[in-house]
Symmetry: C3
Subunit: 341 residues, 3 copies
C-alpha cells in the first residue's frame, strides 16, 4: 500500500495540519499501539491519557488536544468523522471481481448483471433481480421475488424470503434473516390459528443490517426500514414496524409489531419496545430500557438500573416491595404533623 501524505489528507478534508505535509501514512492504528506510518485519532476523552506517548505519524484530534500531541496533528472539528473518511481511503474494500461462482445456483428467471459477484454456494431464486456491482456472500439464500439495489453487499449465510426489496448501497451482515413470518396468531377454541403474513419487507438505500438480526415480513402491508438506518447485530424487528431514516439501533434490541420509530433516533443496546407505539423523531433511548408507551417528544429516555453489590441490591428490592406501605406511613405522619401545627 502506498498510503497518503499528510498534505494530501489535509487538502482533501480541509483540515489544518500541524506537521510535515510530505510525511506519509499507510494504515490506521490505536493511539496506544501505533507505530511510525500509522494514522490515529483522539475523539473519546477516555483515551486522552494515551496521547502523550503515541508513536503514530499523525493524530487526528481537536484543536484543544494539539498541545499534548507529541507528533504531527490533523486538526478536525469532529475527529471521528475525519478519521472515518481517511480510514476508508487507507483501507478500501477489496473490489469484487464480478462473476458467479460455479457452485452457486442461479435460477434461469433471475437477473444477475455481469458486474455482480455471486459467491460460492449462494442461491439466487426465481424472479430475483440483482443490481449492478452487488455482491452476495457465501451460502446466502435469496429465495424468490427479491430486488437488490446497486452496490448492495450481502454477507455469508443470509436468508432473504420472497417479496423483500433491498435498496442501493445496503450492507447485510452474516446470518441475518429478512422476511420470515411475523408472529401473528389468534386463539381459537383452545388452539392457536396462524394469521397469514402476506406483507413484505422494504429496505431503503444505505441501510445496514447486523449479523443474525431478523426483520419480519408484514402481516398485511410491508415492514419498512427507511434510508440510512443502521441496525447492529441480534436485533429483532417485528412485522409492520417502520424505522425512520438515519436512525441507529445498537445490538440486542427488540421492536414489537406495528411500532413506528422516527427519524434520527438513537437507541442503545438491550432496549425492548412494545408494539403499536410511535416514537418521535430524534428520540434517544439509553441502554437496557423498556419502552411500553409512545414517546411524543424528542428527548433522552431511560429506565435501566446499573448493578450494585448483590447483597445491597437485594435489600433495595425488598424495600422497593414495601414502598407502598412506606408511602402510607409517611402520609399518616404528615397528617399528624399537619394536625399538630
Amino acid at each position: 500500500m502506498e498510503g497518503l501524505t499528510l498534505g494530501e489528507i489535509a487538502l482533501k478534508l480541509g483540515l489544518t495540519l500541524n506537521g510535515n505535509p510530505s510525511d506519509r501514512v499507510t494504515h490506521v492504528a490505536t493511539l496506544k499501539s501505533a507505530q511510525p506510518g500509522a494514522l490515529t485519532f483522539l475523539a473519546n476523552s477516555k483515551y486522552r491519557d494515551d496521547l502523550s506517548s503515541t508513536r503514530a505519524t499523525v493524530v487526528v484530534c481537536r484543536e484543544a488536544d494539539v498541545a499534548q500531541c507529541p507528533t504531527a496533528a490533523l486538526i478536525a472539528q469532529d475527529p471521528y468523522v475525519a478519521y472515518a473518511q481517511i480510514a476508508t481511503w487507507l483501507h478500501p474494500k477489496r473490489a469484487t471481481s464480478g462473476g458467479v461462482h460455479p457452485s452457486a445456483v442461479v435460477d434461469p428467471t433471475a437477473i444477475v448483471p455481469v458486474s455482480a459477484t455471486i459467491a460460492a454456494q449462494a442461491y439466487i431464486g426465481p424472479r430475483v433481480v440483482v443490481g449492478e456491482r452487488v455482491s452476495v456472500g457465501v451460502g446466502s439464500a435469496l429465495v424468490s421475488d427479491i430486488h437488490l439495489g446497486d452496490d448492495t453487499q450481502i454477507g455469508p449465510k443470509v436468508s432473504i424470503y420472497p417479496h423483500v426489496n433491498v435498496g442501493a448501497r445496503c450492507l447485510i451482515h452474516g446470518g441475518a434473516v429478512l422476511g420470515a413470518d411475523g408472529f401473528g396468531m389468534a386463539m381459537n377454541q383452545g388452539q392457536w390459528l396462524k394469521v397469514p403474513q402476506v406483507g413484505g419487507v422494504r429496505l431503503g438505500n444505505d441501510v445496514e443490517v447486523g449479523a443474525n438480526t431478523t426483520i419480519d415480513r408484514g402481516a398485511i402491508e410491508d415492514t419498512i426500514i427507511e434510508d440510512d438506518v443502521h441496525l447492529d447485530n441480534q436485533i429483532q424487528v417485528g412485522h409492520n414496524v417502520r424505522i425512520g431514516a438515519h436512525t441507529a439501533i445498537a445490538g440486542c434490541v427488540g421492536i414489537s409489531g406495528s411500532t413506528h420509530i422516527g427519524q434520527y433516533c438513537m437507541i442503545a443496546g438491550f432496549v425492548g419496545i412494545a408494539g403499536h407505539l410511535k416514537i418521535a423523531d430524534r428520540t434517544v433511548i439509553l441502554g437496557f430500557s423498556l419502552v411500553s408507551h409512545s414517546i411524543d417528544e424528542a428527548g433522552v429516555y431511560s429506565s435501566g438500573i446499573p448493578v450494585e453489590e448483590a447483597k445491597t441490591w437485594r435489600r433495595t428490592v425488598g424495600r422497593l416491595r414495601q414502598l407502598d406501605e412506606l408511602n402510607k406511613k409517611v402520609k399518616r405522619l404528615v397528617k399528624l404533623q399537619d394536625g399538630e401545627e
Copy 2:
C-alpha cells in the same frame, strides 16, 4: 385470483352479514389502505378511528362497531379469529411441487417421500426420515438421525442437529438452530470441563419456531416443546426446558436450563427466565421482566419499568439506592410519634 363472495364467507364461518352477499373480495388489506375488492377487520380498538373512512368492500368487526362501518360488515364475536381464517382462504400457501432440487444432497440412508420438497442446497443427512408433503428450505442442514412429521415446513438456513424429533405441521423459520449443545460445564482445577450433552430435542405437532431462535439439546434427557407451542424470533431455550402445549412466547425471550413452563402460558418479549423453575399453566408474563423464582399460580406477572426522561430517571435511581436509609428514617419518626401519643 377469484376470491370469495361475502355470502360464501358468512356461510362458511356462520357470521352475520350486513351487506350484499354477492359482493366479492380477493385479498386482505388494512382499514386505512384498503381499496374495493379488499376485506379488512377491526379487532384492536387503537385502529377504530380508521373505520369510518375505509374503502374496503367489507370489514370483519364486532356487532358494536357495525353502526360506524361505512361498508358491508361481517359480524364476528372474535373478528381476529374470523379474519385469520378468511385470510388463509384468500392467500393460500403456494403448494410445493415435491421433488429434490439437483443441488440438494440427500444421504442414501435418508427417507424422503415423493411428496416432499427439498430446496436447493439443502442437506438431508444419514438416517433422516422426512414425512409426507414436508418442505425443507434453501440451504437447510438436517445433519443426521432426525425425524420430521408430515406437512412440516423448514425455512432457509435452518440447522438441525442429530437426534431431533419434529412433529407434524410444524413451521421452523430461517436460521433457527435445533439441538446444539446445552451450556453445561464444571470447573475443575481452574479449567472448565465440558459436560457431554447426550439428550435430544422433541417438538410436538403444530409447533412454530421463529427465525434465529435456538433450542438446545438436553444434557441427559430431551428438551421438550409440546404441541401448538409458538416461539417468536431470537428466543433461546436452554437444555432440558419443557414448554407446555399452546404456550406462546414472543421475541428475544431467554429460558435457562431445566425450567418447565406450563400450558397456555403467554410470555411477552424480552423476558428472562432462570433455570430449574416451574411456571404454572396459564401464567402471563409481561415484557421485559425477570422470572427468578417458580410461579405456582396462574396470574399476570411483571417487573418491567417503563422509560421516563433520563434526567428524572437518574434522580429516581439515586433515591432508590437510598431507600433503605429512608426506611430507617421513617421508622424512627413513627417510633417518636408513637412515643408522643
Copy 3:
C-alpha cells in the same frame, strides 16, 4: 456399548466406591428416570428428593448423601465434575472419519490436512488453514484468510469472515457468526458515515461459542477471546471487546464495544454491558442486570428485579416515580421533629 465397571471408574478418578466393583454401567441418566445399567449423580440439592427412589446402578454423590442412596454410590467431593468425566467416557464423541465431502468447496490455496473432516456443502475459502483433526459442519462458510487450530469443531451453518483466528480444541456451534463488521459510524452532515472495521477476531484455545452467537471484528485492533472462555447461545460481542481466560457467559448477554472482561468471571443470562468498561477478574454478575460502569473489585453484582403480580408491581412503579417527592416529605418531617426536640 460395553460401558465401565464401578471399580474401573473408582480407580480412574480416585473415588471411594460404596458397592460392588464389578457392577457395570453403560450410560448416564437422571436420578428419576434411571434404570439398571445407568450411572447418575446428585449435585444440585433441588433433586435430593429423587435420590431415595432411583433405580440407577450407581449414583455419584457427596459423602453426606450416601446414607440416603438406595444403590451403589461413588463418593466425590464435586459430584458434577466426576459425573462430567465419566459421561465423557460413556458417551464419547463419534470419531470423525476425515475427508472432504464431494459437495464441499475447498479453494486451491486453502490447506486442509487428511485428518480434517469437511462436511457437505461447507466452504473453505482462499488462504484458510485448517488444523489436524478439525471438523467443519454442514454448510459452514470459512470465507478467507482464517486459521483453525488442531481439533477444533465447527457446527453447521457457521459464518467466519476473513482474518479470524481460532485456537485449538475450540467448539463453535451452529449459526454463529465470527468477524462481521463492528457497529461503527460517525454522523456527518445528517448522514451516517461508516467507519471501516479493519481489525480481526482472535479466539484462544478451548473456547466454546454458542449457537447464533455473534463476535464482531475489531475496528482497528482485534477482538480477543482468551483461552477456555465459554459463551452460550445468542450472545453479542461488540468490536474490540476482550474476554479473559476461563470466563463463562450465559445466553442472551450483550457486550458493547471495547469493554474488557477479566478472567474467571461468571456472567448470567440477559446481562447488558455498556462499552469501554473494565470488569475485574472473578466478577460474578447475576441475570438480567445492566452494567453501565466499570467494576474494579471482584464480587457478586446485580440489578435485576424479580416479577410479582402485575397489579402490585404497577402500584410499586407508581410509588417509585414519586420517590423523590416522598424523600422530600420525610426530610421535612425529620426537620420538624428535630426542631421539636
